[in-house]
């Protein structure tokens, strides 16, 4: 069995006239936490959707566990997705189902377990994210952080080989963020799976990652361990990690010189 779970080669993808990926290639190992980081709008979420087969690339290949995602039949793709969990930024809980039923949903859909066993599994999964006591609540009664934890319990319901996290820390207060950071790390270690975290939150993401890919302008800028990247001499990486206002990513959006603009306006 290969050590690489996700293999992306020469990926090209556009939305309308806007090029999102321009020959992107990367490997994601079978175990550990891999972070994919980059500024807003670089296509990090799009990349997760491409890996999950929800979007089709213009060119290039994505292999997950040796299977070319975009050449699979719908049946095979759905079989593969049963082995992939995904945590959406909003949680994406089904709003007409309780917390318990949300976590039970994939079990009811894909297994023929009896009700007692489903109850046991759901309560165990909810216990793992610290929300067993919220089993009877409805999604509308949960905070943002709780919703993501329930979604995490649902994502691990079928014991997947990988979990993809889409911006898990965005909009979270420090406590919720701390809970999510430790949950991602602990679950990854306990289940010994592949976790792919897409984020632009540098300190928290680097603290739990084993490997990091920085992407910008449709390509991988730099990859390596968090330690290597912290000490990187690449200008772009330095600017992103330290949050400098100006650098390879300019402060000013491209425009004519200011004097030209002012002069033309006066004219």
């Amino acid at each position: 069995m290969s050590d690489t779970l996700v293999k992306i080669r020469n990926l090209h993808f556009s939305r309308g006239n806007r090029k999102i990926f321009d020959g992107l290639s990367m490997d994601i190992p079978r175990q550990g936490v891999t972070a994919i980081m980059g500024p807003s709008g670089t296509g990090k979420t799009t990349l997760l959707k491409l890996i999950g087969g929800q979007l089709v690339p213009d060119h290039g290949t994505i292999e997950v566990d040796g299977l070319n995602v975009h050449q699979l039949s719908t049946k095979k793709l759905f079989e593969l997705r049963q082995r992939m969990g995904m945590l959406f930024q909003s949680g994406a809980l089904l709003t007409d189902l309780s917390v318990f039923e949300n976590v039970a949903y994939p079990l009811r859909e894909h297994t023929r377990l009896n009700e007692a066993l489903i109850r046991h599994l759901v309560l165990l999964k909810l216990n793992a994210v610290g929300l067993r006591g919220a089993a009877d609540m409805m999604p509308s009664e949960l905070s943002g952080g709780m919703s993501r934890r329930v979604a995490l319990a649902r994502a691990i319901a079928l014991d997947p080989m990988m979990i993809m996290y889409d911006e898990p820390f965005t909009g979270q207060d420090p406590i919720s963020k701390g809970v999510l950071v430790s949950l991602i790390s602990e679950l990854n270690n306990a289940l010994n799976i592949c976790s792919v975290v897409v984020s632009h939150d540098v300190p928290d993401t680097l603290s739990i990652s084993d490997y990091v890919h920085f992407i910008s302008a449709g390509k991988v800028v730099e990859s390596g361990s968090p330690e290597t990247l912290r000490n990187s001499t690449v200008e772009w990486t330095h600017q992103f990690i330290h949050g400098d206002a100006d650098g390879p990513v300019p402060f000013h959006y491209p425009a004519d010189p200011i004097m030209d603009d002012l002069y033309q306006r006066r004219k």
């Binding site: 759905f78 997705r81 969990g85 959406f88 994406a92 949903y105 994939p106 894909h110």
Partner: protein, 265 residues
């Protein structure tokens, strides 16, 4: 030159709008085929349809009953005042019954259905799209066409003829209350004329066929608009409006076509 450019711009705009409309129609047609093929899965999970029958059908019942009652009452009044001058007021019953069964029952029910249930379906599915619930289902290896769209479509198609029948029945009762109880028309004349004149095939069956067609079209438009909407609050609002407008126009147009086909001499 300026005028010429403006004319070209206008032509270009019209051409783009036409292409956009045909593209949507094509997408909608493919979507309908997908929905119909997804309906096969409902035989395994019939409870999904039963649940939707409640929200699509039962919850629309009250507006249908109230509207049917008033439409029947108004029709009895109007036809009574028109016929009494000719001494033909005994025909109020048959006039109301035929109008309801052939036209008003299916059409008004479908228009009310598009406004109440259709807009709700679009908003529900659109909101599920905006909150990534549909994407979430796909990533859980669950096909939202089978679990979300198909049960709602099927519930709409089943509900419409039932609601139209109830509308017509309540309308006739409303007409009876006005014509017989209020205006003093003979009860025997009111009921016997429809018994003689209303034809099972020509009137009742055709009315039911109409309401099934309207049910398919109104529900198809509603679920498609929800599934295809731009997942923002503005996009959702526009999709809901489009559902009501497009459904209403489609129902009225199809009513003309079906009437022309069904009631030829």
């Amino acid at each position: 030159m300026k005028l010429f450019n403006r004319l070209i711009d206008r032509l270009q705009y019209m051409g783009a709008a036409t292409i956009h409309s045909f593209r949507r129609l094509g997408r909608g047609s493919v979507f309908l085929l997908e929905v119909i093929s997804s309906c096969v899965s409902l035989f395994v999970r019939p409870m999904l349809v039963v649940k939707q029958l409640y929200s699509v059908g039962v919850q629309t019942l009250i507006i249908i009953v109230v509207a049917g009652l008033f439409v029947g009452m108004v029709m009895a009044l109007q036809s009574y005042y028109a016929l009494v001058d000719f001494g033909a007021e005994d025909s109020v019953g048959v006039m109301v019954a035929l109008s309801l069964l052939r036209e008003l029952g299916p059409v008004v029910t479908a228009l009310l259905f598009a406004g109440r249930a259709g807009s709700a379906l679009t908003a529900e599915i659109g909101l599920m799209k905006a909150t990534e619930q549909l994407s979430g289902m796909e990533m859980m290896a669950v096909n939202p066409m089978q679990r979300i769209v198909a049960p709602r479509f099927m519930a709409g198609v089943i509900s419409m003829p039932l609601l139209a029948t109830i509308f017509s029945a309540v309308g006739v009762i409303g007409a009876y209350l006005v014509a017989v109880q209020l205006l003093g028309l003979d009860s025997g004349a009111f009921w016997s004329q429809p018994q003689n004149k209303v034809d099972l095939h020509l009137d009742l069956y055709n009315g039911i066929i109409k309401s099934v067609v309207f049910g398919v079209v109104a529900t198809w438009i509603a679920v498609f608009e929800g599934y295809d909407c731009v997942p923002t609050s503005e996009g959702l609002g526009q999709a809901t409006t489009r559902t009501v407008v497009h459904s209403s126009l489609a129902i009225l147009f199809l009513d003309f076509v079906l009437t022309a086909l069904m009631f030829t001499k």
